[in-house]
């Protein structure tokens, strides 16, 4: 192994490409006809959408009685999937906002992509609570507006906090993403030769002129938005966890939930971003911009948050015993040894054991290994939500009100729909918008900034 020179920072972008080379490589997918692979992939995701639409149609027509939800398990796949998708979204904001505030320059290559994933994941997430209300054409009542009945929503309910948190999160993520896109739209506008594209890019670039008098405010707003998005992203999963923690169901009523949920969200989100980036850098020749160093750093983040999640699993058991509460103790023993023990042990294996492989540098930098572990982590995180929601509801206080939960084919159909929606949007995104932020990457290439003769 060669010695690493720690006095020199590893270049964020490899090979020192010129600015016009960056423009060229990033805009290739937008200027070429889609290839065979892309067509096959979008055929698969559209098929998923189609299959899911059947399940959605049945739900729409006959109501949510088609699902496996029952009494006592009133929350099933719908809320499991909701929490899962909101969690996926968190990686994007973490990369774009928190790493920005921490001045992690390596984030620039992957930030745009991760933000796009955030937006699409939150759209998938929003689908589930909207459907879960039953008569979803009345979902407008979730928002407080002055209506004829003189009724207001219940501002003290965690479910309403959720409505505010998720819709705020979506809106702020969307404008954060768009603000980042404005200079890139301007660059594309000035590059393209197609008249239709030029019109579209002109419309969205709003007349951006790369003026320093504008860059000055632009950089300021980036800090402001990052400063808001950081507490926002923490608040969103915190509030999602309040849906559970504020109730009195054993296994839910714990103060560890907010940090535990946030760590889990980052864990699954990074796994998803890492998985998709592996394909993107391969497909679009972006290996010098989205480097192996990026993927390695993401894997390092995954070890950290994976360990936090593992700690939370252990601490839940400890507190269940330490509290001396019979119901809590029963709930956790039931999780590990009860009828849903298989789900519990899938969760522990995938989330606690699998990331440990990333301690080895060789495995951390091996594409096949990290891809498989990323998938396993996401399976595990999906099961984590399943374990939390279903096992607690299936067996709470009174044995007479216990009941098992079995999802129906329609539950799976809508889960497939959400994956289809996510990947379809992602595929459309990679062909229509720059997957890498042009202006940000140009700014971090070696030699892009003035040489500081004599320092600042």
């Amino acid at each position: 192994m060669t010695a690493i020179d720690y006095t020199q920072e590893i270049p964020v972008v490899e090979g020192r490409p010129t600015a016009s080379q960056i423009d060229e490589v990033v805009s290739i997918p937008m200027n070429t006809k889609p290839g065979k692979v892309w067509k096959v992939l979008i055929a698969i995701t559209s098929l998923m959408l189609l299959v899911g639409s059947v399940a959605l149609g049945y739900t729409f027509y006959y109501g949510i009685g088609m699902w496996g939800n029952n009494n006592p398990v009133g929350w099933g796949f719908d809320i499991v999937n909701f929490v899962f998708w909101v969690g996926i979204g968190h990686a994007g904001t973490l990369i774009s906002a928190i790493l920005f505030l921490l001045r992690q320059r390596w984030r620039t290559g992957i930030a745009r992509f991760a933000e796009a994933m955030t937006i699409f994941a939150v759209m998938c997430a929003g689908l589930f609570p909207a459907l879960h209300t039953g008569r979803f054409w009345l979902d407008g009542y979730l928002f407080p507006y002055p209506n004829q009945n003189h009724l207001w929503v219940n501002f003290t309910s965690p479910l309403l906090w959720d409505v505010f948190a998720v819709s705020t999160y979506f809106t702020v993520s969307l404008i954060f993403w768009y603000v980042g896109l404005i200079p890139d739209f301007a660059t594309l506008r000035d590059r393209t030769t197609s008249k239709i594209k030029k019109t579209i890019y002109t419309l969205f670039s709003l007349g951006w002129r790369h003026s320093t008098r504008h860059w000055q405010h632009y950089e300021k707003i980036y800090v402001i938005l990052a400063g808001f998005a950081t507490p926002l992203v923490l608040s969103v999963h915190t509030i999602v966890s309040f849906d559970f923690a504020v109730s009195v169901i054993p296994g839910w009523h714990t103060t560890i939930f907010p940090p535990y949920f946030v760590a889990g969200a980052v864990f699954s989100g990074f796994a998803m971003v890492q998985n998709v980036l592996i394909f993107v850098r391969q497909a679009f020749n972006l290996k010098h911009i989205i480097t192996l160093n990026h993927l390695e750093k993401m894997n390092q983040v995954m070890i950290v948050v994976g360990m936090i999640v593992g700690y939370a699993y252990g601490m839940e058991f400890f507190i269940a015993w330490y509290s001396g509460n019979d119901f809590e103790m029963f709930t956790f023993i039931n999780r590990a040894l009860g009828p849903y023990a298989w789900a519990y042990w899938i969760m522990v294996t995938c989330n606690v054991v699998s990331p440990q492989f990333f301690w080895f540098k060789k495995l951390r930098r091996s594409i096949p290994v990290m891809f498989v572990i990323g998938i396993i982590v996401n399976i595990g995180m999906w099961f984590e939500r399943f374990v939390i929601i279903v096992t607690s509801l299936a067996r709470d206080y009174l044995p007479s009100s216990w009941g098992m939960y079995t999802p129906t084919i329609y539950d799976f159909g809508i889960l497939i729909f959400s994956f289809g929606l996510f990947f379809t949007l992602l595929l459309l995104f990679v062909k229509t918008l720059p997957v890498v932020s042009l202006s940000e990457v140009k700014a971090v290439v070696d030699g892009a900034q003035p040489s500081h003769k004599g320092g600042h």
């Binding site: 003290t156 705020t168 000035d190 590059r191 002129r209 003035p450």
Partner: protein, 380 residues
């Protein structure tokens, strides 16, 4: 041909170091109306150009404080004033529960508002007809070059001098940028313009009509609401008498129901019946509850016969007339139980004990409305 108006003189530089030096020199040379265009923000450029720090933060702060204040005031108004509801036994103003939404509204209003303010107020966007657009200069600074342009409104603007100045600094592709001539033949009543206006009007009006009057009232599925069942007060096709509401089968006796033995026999009721209940505060309160429920809609809360049925009905009589005051308890009880004139019988709705309690309460009302001096004396 008309002479074109000069917008600015521009030059391109290859490296960030060159452009930073050019900015400093331009400042030294005394130019004020100039701009630097770079494909990405170059560090230290604001300092080189001597720009004042961005004031966006002030707007963010004001909007954030405004959003937070609005959220707290709005939720408090709903919870305390407009629709107070006790939720979980908590006080109306349970502020800890307002924290999450206050936070979200603060973030939402501050971030959306700041972005809108930046784009609309600071940048004056959208601005797609700026003279710099579609010039060679713009195409280069958009990709990889670093450009400077001194605008014609600068007080010491001189095209030739500036070109010389840029050449000395090492600028390349020095060019003069002209303003687009403003088209003169814009007519107010152009056919296409009118056509577009009419189209917009039709589409907006049509959409609003459909959404507000039709779409909002469409219920996709009403199976839960529309059921094959008999609703009270509707016509029945099943029963021969046409009523959906059915009377009990003949001879049915409700639990605790005691048949009235003086039905239609007022004279004997007046003589034979007397109040079996003790005259106590508890009984009177029980009587008040029943009176307020069953009697007050017609006779009024204080038995004055002054309800809103006063002028549109055979007038509900006051209970304070000499006639009623002189009735025996049995007589009042008989009227409640048996009914009188248009007043129906209440023996199926009010239990026997409650009817007697009402009699006591009516006595209390009568005495309160016709108090004697001695009543006041005894209260001293």
């Amino acid at each position: 041909m008309e002479e074109k108006k000069i917008f600015s003189v521009a030059a391109l530089f290859d490296t960030p170091d060159d452009i930073t030096r050019a900015a400093k020199e331009t400042n030294v040379a005394g130019y004020t109306k100039y701009d630097i265009n770079t494909p990405y923000p170059v560090h230290g450029m604001e300092k080189a150009m001597k720009l004042k720090p961005s004031k966006l933060g002030i707007i963010t702060f004001l909007l954030g404080v405004g959003g937070a204040t609005f959220a707290v005031l709005f939720m408090s108004w709903v919870a305390i004033v407009d629709y107070p509801l006790v939720i979980g036994g908590k006080p109306f103003f349970s502020w800890p529960a307002f924290v999450p939404i206050t936070f979200e509204v603060t973030v939402l209003s501050a971030s959306v508002g700041t972005v809108v303010a930046m784009i609309a107020l600071f940048f004056k966007f959208p601005h797609n007809s700026h003279p710099l657009h579609d010039t060679n200069y713009m195409k280069r600074v958009s990709s990889d070059k670093f450009g400077i342009n001194i605008v014609a409104i600068d007080p010491i603007f001189d095209e030739a001098k500036i070109k010389e100045f840029f050449a000395k600094l090492g600028g390349k592709e020095i060019e003069t940028i002209y303003e687009e001539p403003f088209p003169k033949d814009i007519k107010m009543f152009d056919k296409r313009f009118i056509g577009v206006l009419v189209l917009i009007a039709i589409v907006t009006a049509g959409t609003s009509y459909l959404v507000l009057n039709k779409l909002l009232y469409i219920q996709p599925f009403t199976w839960m609401a529309e059921q094959d069942k008999g609703l009270p007060q509707t016509k029945s096709e099943v029963f021969s008498d046409g009523f959906t509401m059915r009377p009990p089968v003949d001879g049915t006796v409700a639990r605790d129901y005691v048949p009235y033995e003086y039905k239609g026999l007022k004279d004997s009721a007046v003589v034979n019946l007397s109040n079996p209940l003790p005259f106590s505060k508890q009984v009177i309160e029980k009587g008040k509850t029943s009176y307020d429920t069953y009697c007050s809609p017609c006779h009024g809360n204080f038995g004055k016969g002054d309800t809103r049925l006063r002028d549109q009905f055979p007038k509900p009589p006051t209970l304070h007339s000499d006639k009623v005051r002189n009735w025996t308890d049995g007589n009042i009880y008989h009227v409640i139980t048996n009914g009188q004139n248009i007043m129906p019988s209440y023996d199926k709705q009010i239990s026997r004990d409650d009817r007697w309690a009402i009699v006591y309460y009516i006595r209390v009302l009568q005495r309160s409305q016709n108090a004697k001096d001695s009543d006041f004396e005894s209260n001293k």
